[in-house]
Each structure stands twice: as structure tokens, then as C-alpha cells.
């Protein structure tokens, strides 16, 4: 039985370390990602790796404070407080957002399904 909560905690640690390779190693090659801001998530692994790498490189630091972490079989839901600081502008879908030097503090919900190998097959982010 996969430990979905452990996978979620590893994912948060990988985001906090801004380590895109570590994030990708936790995803199944056919993982479905729904991140809320776009209705059309990336469908190929290389595009996803590039997007995650570009986004994480804009942060000076990110910190997740788990407020609730609920796991059952291969499913996990996390309610998190996020604090982060950008050291670069964020480029989203070709638009440059003036985030350099800005800090953010907000709540986010992550839901994930994890396979027998402990890798995420479906990830949903709500904020």
C-alpha cells in the first residue's frame, strides 16, 4: 500500500528545496497535473519539467506549513499555509509578472493520487 502522506511530504520538501528534478522524480511519467490557473495542463513530461524548473527558479525561498494532512490508501489531501519570496520576475504563459522582491502569504490545497511505486499519478492544486 503506498504511503501517500509520505509522498506529499517529499513533494513539499522538493518544492521548498526548489529542486525541479526531485519534484519530477515524485511524478509518474503519465501524471495528470491540474494547477487551477489554466484549464489545459501540460501533457508531456518535458514541458512540465521545464515549467516547474522555470517557476521554482524565480523563488528566493518557499515555506509550506501543513495545517491538515489527510491520507487514505493511495489518496492524500493537504491544507497548507504558504509563505514565499521571489527574487526574479515570474514569467507565466509569456507574460512577465513583476514579482521580483515580492513576498506572498496564502493558503493552498493540494490533492494527490499515488501509485504503488509511491509516485504521483494525479495532482490538483487549488488556491
Amino acid at each position: 500500500m503506498p504511503d501517500a502522506k509520505a509522498t506529499m511530504m517529499n513533494l513539499l520538501a522538493a518544492f521548498e528545496a526548489r529542486d525541479a528534478d526531485r519534484v519530477m522524480s515524485l511524478l509518474s511519467p503519465d501524471a495528470r497535473i491540474e494547477a487551477g490557473i489554466t484549464r489545459v495542463p501540460p501533457t508531456d513530461f518535458d514541458t512540465l519539467r521545464h515549467q516547474i524548473s522555470e517557476t521554482l527558479s524565480c523563488y528566493d525561498w518557499i515555506h509550506y506549513e501543513p495545517r491538515m494532512l489527510i491520507g487514505e490508501n493511495g489518496s492524500v489531501a493537504a491544507l497548507l499555509s504558504v509563505r514565499a519570496r521571489f527574487d526574479k520576475d515570474l514569467v507565466l504563459f509569456g507574460a512577465r509578472l513583476p514579482t521580483a522582491g515580492q513576498s506572498v502569504d496564502y493558503d493552498v490545497a493540494f490533492f494527490a493520487e499515488v501509485d504503488e511505486a509511491g509516485r504521483i499519478t494525479h495532482f490538483i492544486r487549488l488556491l
Partner: protein, 157 residues
């Protein structure tokens, strides 16, 4: 041990039915509600009807499709697709929102704790804020203004 999933499921049913009495009857007296919009938690069952009545009255139809329900002990997380259609405009914290005839189709998450007596004691809601802004055409500045007025009222209460 109360069946936390059925309690939360019934509570969501009460929202779909627009039944404010049933919504509040299922809450603990000292319930806390936190949302993605507000820094201040709302505390107390008696406070909620006043906050929800106008919104529920403005909604013509509401469908909440549970996409995932994950539970452990008395904690439950729900991921739902929420589809609402507004039949009336809504006056909220001094802002008049032109919602009549508009529809909303977003994802929302609820994290709920149920107490030993089988009542809901803590609720945290996170919604797709971008979806709300985009679909209802509410400018972020108006959301910020409502948030500010709400926080001021709660501090004064």
C-alpha cells in the same frame, strides 16, 4: 466514533438544498470557519446564518459534485466541482455585485473536523479564486474592498 464522511456529505446536501437551518444545525456551537479570502477566522454557530443568508438567497441553483472525499478519523477533505447560477444580484459588505443570470463552475476544497458529538467543529475552505474572478467578472480590487470591510466588522464585533 461519528461517521465523519456521512456528516460532511449531509452538510453539503444541505447547501445544495439551500437549507440554512440544516446547515447551522450540524455545526458545533464554537465552530470556526476559515476561508481563502479572509485572514480572520469566523467563530461561533450563531454568526454564520447572517453571513450566508444573502448569498444563499441570491443563488438560483447549486450543484456540488464530490470528486474526492478523503477521510482519516474525524478529519475529512472534500474536493468538489461547484456549479452555481445566480438568480439575483448580491449586496455584500457595501459592494453591489451584478450576479443575476451569471453562472459559476469552479473547483473548491473543504477541510472539515467533526467533533466526538458528531458536529462540525472546524471548516477551512479553499476555492479557485482565479475562476471566480474570471467567471463572475468581479475585479480583484472589489474583492479586496469587501475583505477589508468584513475584517473591520469582525474586529468591531
Amino acid at each position: 466514533m461519528p461517521d465523519a464522511i456521512s456528516i460532511v456529505d449531509s452538510w453539503i446536501d444541505a447547501f445544495e438544498a439551500g437549507d440554512l437551518n440544516r446547515i447551522t444545525d450540524m455545526l458545533a456551537d464554537n465552530v470556526t470557519l476559515e476561508t481563502e479570502m479572509l485572514r480572520t477566522a469566523i467563530t461561533g454557530r450563531n454568526v454564520l446564518p447572517g453571513l450566508m443568508r444573502d448569498t444563499l438567497n441570491a443563488i438560483e441553483s447549486l450543484r456540488i459534485d464530490r470528486q474526492k472525499i478523503i477521510a482519516s478519523g474525524r478529519d475529512v477533505a472534500v474536493l468538489a466541482r461547484v456549479r452555481a447560477r445566480f438568480g439575483k444580484d448580491l449586496e455584500l459588505y457595501g459592494e453591489s455585485l451584478q450576479l443575476a443570470g451569471k453562472s459559476l463552475d469552479i473547483l473548491a476544497a473543504l477541510f472539515v473536523e467533526v467533533n466526538a458529538e458528531g458536529r462540525i467543529s472546524r471548516i477551512t475552505r479553499v476555492r479557485d479564486t482565479f475562476g471566480i474572478i474570471e467567471q463572475l467578472g468581479i475585479a480583484p480590487e472589489r474583492i479586496a474592498a469587501m475583505k477589508e470591510k468584513f475584517e473591520r466588522q469582525r474586529r468591531a464585533a
